[in-house]
């Protein structure tokens, strides 16, 4: 918390007295405090500070403080409410499930008896997100460094602005683009990969097309601007003194980046990657448009198929009855749990790092 010296300021120091007594002469505030029945203030030995009024029990300060506290608490309430309401709606559906929720590979909650399992969906979610990050993060960091430290300042700024804009492009647009224009190149690439690298198990047989590879490519392209924009922001905030010190000691530009920029930006970069991961894990529409929607656990990333929890919710929601809705909410609960675990782990890492870097700085 070393960056918040203002916190040491007293919360209740200034009541409204001083501010509201403008009409009186400059020295009158002491009399104002006196007349308000507060003799303790006038002889507390603080000299000129004798004008300090006592904190009021019901003043604007308290009210404002309470208001902000309520807003802060609302966040915790919302997170708790998400968990509670999802559980409340998921449990009845899970009770009626006749197959194992964790291992069954299929999704028939609307039938009688209902059968559905999360295994293949969770697998697809994790696999596609991991692949997407694997492809996107190195490139994103490269671009962020290019924009912050390699490109001419003016060009870097305008390109950075463009990347910020691309980060705002909705996922449905990327999904639509992936489905309409990326399928063909990816199918060609899949065939090529299978022909020459078929001995690696993940590059299996076709049919090629709406595969995990396509889905994670679209995800990667989608996540790229977000990670880039956030890490660029972090890299740009590196203290110039650190950079100049490294350069003055004779470091090359890359050594300067390694010693000054990357260590300083690490927590921010981790946060950016985690935000990207969160978006990839929860990405719905882009995957609903690009994945083949099958319910099988397969490491073959080239074959048409694959599914994710979120995409499955979007695809199956329209046809779901009460049990079907409950089943989808149950799968959403699993997704919520996965993202929560990922996020809490990441945040824990960042907070530890942040203390470390702050004490070092």
């Amino acid at each position: 918390m070393g960056d918040n010296p203002h916190r040491s300021a007293h919360a209740g120091t200034g009541g409204t007295h001083v501010a509201t007594s403008h009409e009186g002469p400059a020295g009158a505030s002491a009399r104002v405090a006196e007349s308000s029945g507060n003799p303790r203030m006038t002889d507390n030995g603080l000299g000129g500070g004798g004008a300090l009024p006592r904190a009021r029990a019901f003043g604007a300060e308290r009210a404002f403080r309470g208001l902000t506290l309520a807003a802060g608490t609302a966040v915790l309430v919302i997170i708790a409410a998400i968990a509670i309401f999802l559980i409340a709606k998921a449990v009845p559906a899970l009770r009626t499930n006749t197959e194992s929720f964790w291992t069954y590979e299929g999704w028939f909650p609307n039938e009688n008896p209902p059968k559905f399992g999360i295994g293949a969906l969770a697998f697809g979610t994790v696999l596609s997100s991991a692949l997407a990050l694997l492809m996107a993060v190195p490139v994103a960091l490269g671009i962020a460094l290019y924009l912050s430290h390699y490109a001419p300042r003016r060009l870097g700024n305008s390109l950075g602005f463009l990347i910020d804009l691309l980060a705002a492009v909705p996922s449905v647009v990327f999904g639509l683009w992936g489905r309409d224009y990326l399928v063909k190149p990816v199918a060609d690439l899949s065939a090529w990969l299978h022909e020459y690298f078929g001995w690696i198990p993940i590059f299996g047989e076709g049919p090629y097309g709406s595969s995990i590879l396509l889905g994670s490519l679209v995800l990667a392209i989608m996540v790229l601007p977000i990670v880039t924009s956030l890490s660029r922001e972090v890299f740009r905030q590196t203290p110039t003194a650190n950079e100049e010190a490294a350069l003055a000691l004779g470091a090359t530009r890359w050594e300067m980046i390694c010693t000054a920029v990357l260590p300083y930006g690490r927590p921010g970069v981790i946060a950016a990657v985690m935000l990207g991961l969160g978006r990839a894990l929860g990405e719905t529409i882009a995957l609903a448009l690009t994945l083949g929607s099958t319910y099988a656990i397969s490491f073959n990333i080239l074959e048409s198929g694959g599914n994710s929890i979120a995409a499955n919710i979007a695809l199956k929601f329209a046809e779901a009855n009460a049990t079907g809705r409950g089943a989808l909410i149950a799968s959403g609960l699993v997704l919520f749990a996965i993202t929560l675990i990922v996020n809490i782990t990441a945040r824990a890492i960042i907070y530890r790092r942040r203390e470390f870097t702050e004490s070092a700085a």
Partner: protein
């Protein structure tokens, strides 16, 4: 070090050559690139394993390796690593620009197809699979209303929460809030959609509807969007409040200004450009969300101005629904709606940034 011995040429006195290390000549990098490309073309076509794309990929790899070797031989290891990483970073940029440029190009060229008055003035009501008309008027209304309500809910809540965390909160509780705001940024949009479905649509909305049946509504979508926007607004506001210099606050305290007034009159105005930018980015993200709207607003084909009753559509949802339809006219509608959505989002973003810039100048 051999330069100190061998250089007897006359040199400008300001820059004695003895202090400079050997450097690769300026033509070295392009030369390596050409050689790498030729070599790669030879390998790829010689072995018959691919087309021009593979030539470029292999060529890039060869270029990196060649550059490293050449620089290593002339300039030394450190400089070689510097050059290679520099080339890698530049190529990362090129690699990423290609798909993004393709997305933008497709969006503009396909989206212009149906960019006519009819698209913006009609809904999809009574539009069959064989009708070429039909538009997104209802979806635009839906997006504006939902995002507007969500912003009204989120901004006060988010800014106050950030003020608590930065200015008032201390100890474990404030840390917990900060932590969970961070965690909340990672909650998937579809989960917030399911949350509002379970909470508002299935449990609360039957209490308000005359027939006691759960009903979709635009307001439910706004609720889901505000849950999505909240952490973004809190986070950006928090960051900006922390950037406000402590002397500004201390100056206000020294003048006897109470803390709440200091926050409202000194800290917030100083941080305003950043806060506004954060809010606009949150709004832009919310406007593009499809999943929650799909789950809780239902998406209708007709115009519905009332966000509290009956199905509403949104631009993002409209794109998704048109993309899934079998009619040969629907892809054009989907792309035009996507272009409209992107334009809306970009206008918001650009306006926010310009506003922020002007505010900064004004101070």
């Amino acid at each position: 070090m051999s330069t100190t011995v061998t250089s007897h040429r006359p040199q400008p006195p300001a820059q004695p050559v003895t202090l400079r290390a050997k450097r690769l000549p300026a033509y070295a990098a392009p030369a390596v690139a050409v050689v790498a490309l030729l070599l790669s073309a030879g390998i790829v076509y010689g072995a018959g394993i691919g087309g021009p794309v593979l030539v470029v990929v292999v060529g890039a790899l060869l270029y990196l390796a060649g550059l490293f070797l050449a620089a290593n031989a002339v300039e030394g290891r450190r400089s070689a690593r510097n050059r290679t990483w520099s080339a890698l970073i530049h190529s990362a940029f090129v690699l990423a620009v290609l798909p993004l440029a393709s997305v933008v190009w497709t969006l503009v060229s396909k989206g212009a197809e149906r960019l006519d008055a009819n698209f913006f003035l009609t809904s999809m009501n009574n539009i069959g699979a064989r009708d070429a008309n039909g538009g997104a008027y209802h979806a635009i209304i839906g997006t504006l209303e939902q995002v507007g309500i969500a912003t009204l809910i989120t901004v006060p809540l988010g800014v106050l929460c950030a003020i608590y965390v930065v200015e008032y909160g201390r100890g474990r509780f404030a840390f917990t809030i900060r932590f969970f705001v961070d965690v909340m940024t990672g909650i998937p949009s579809i989960v917030t959609g399911l949350f509002v479905l379970a909470f508002w649509v299935l449990i609360v909305s039957p209490l308000f509807s005359p027939d006691g049946q759960p009903g979709f509504s635009g307001f439910a979508a706004a609720l889901a969007l505000s849950v999505l926007m909240l952490p973004t607004v809190v986070r950006s506001t928090e960051e900006m409040l922390r950037l406000v210099p402590a002397p500004l606050r201390e100056g206000a305290y020294a003048l006897g200004v109470p803390k709440w007034k200091t926050i409202l009159r000194v800290v917030l105005p100083t941080a305003l450009p950043g806060i506004v930018t954060g809010i606009m980015l949150a709004v832009a993200r919310a406007a593009g969300e499809t999943a929650p709207v799909l789950l809780v607003a239902g998406g209708g084909a007709a115009i519905n101005f009332n966000p509290f009753e009956n199905n509403q559509s949104s631009l993002a949802l409209f794109v998704y629904q048109q993309a899934g339809e079998a009619s040969k006219y629907s892809p054009a509608r989907a792309w035009t709606a996507a272009l409209t959505l992107v334009a809306l989002v970009l206008i918001l973003t650009v306006a926010a940034k310009l506003l922020a810039r002007r505010n900064r100048l004004g101070r």
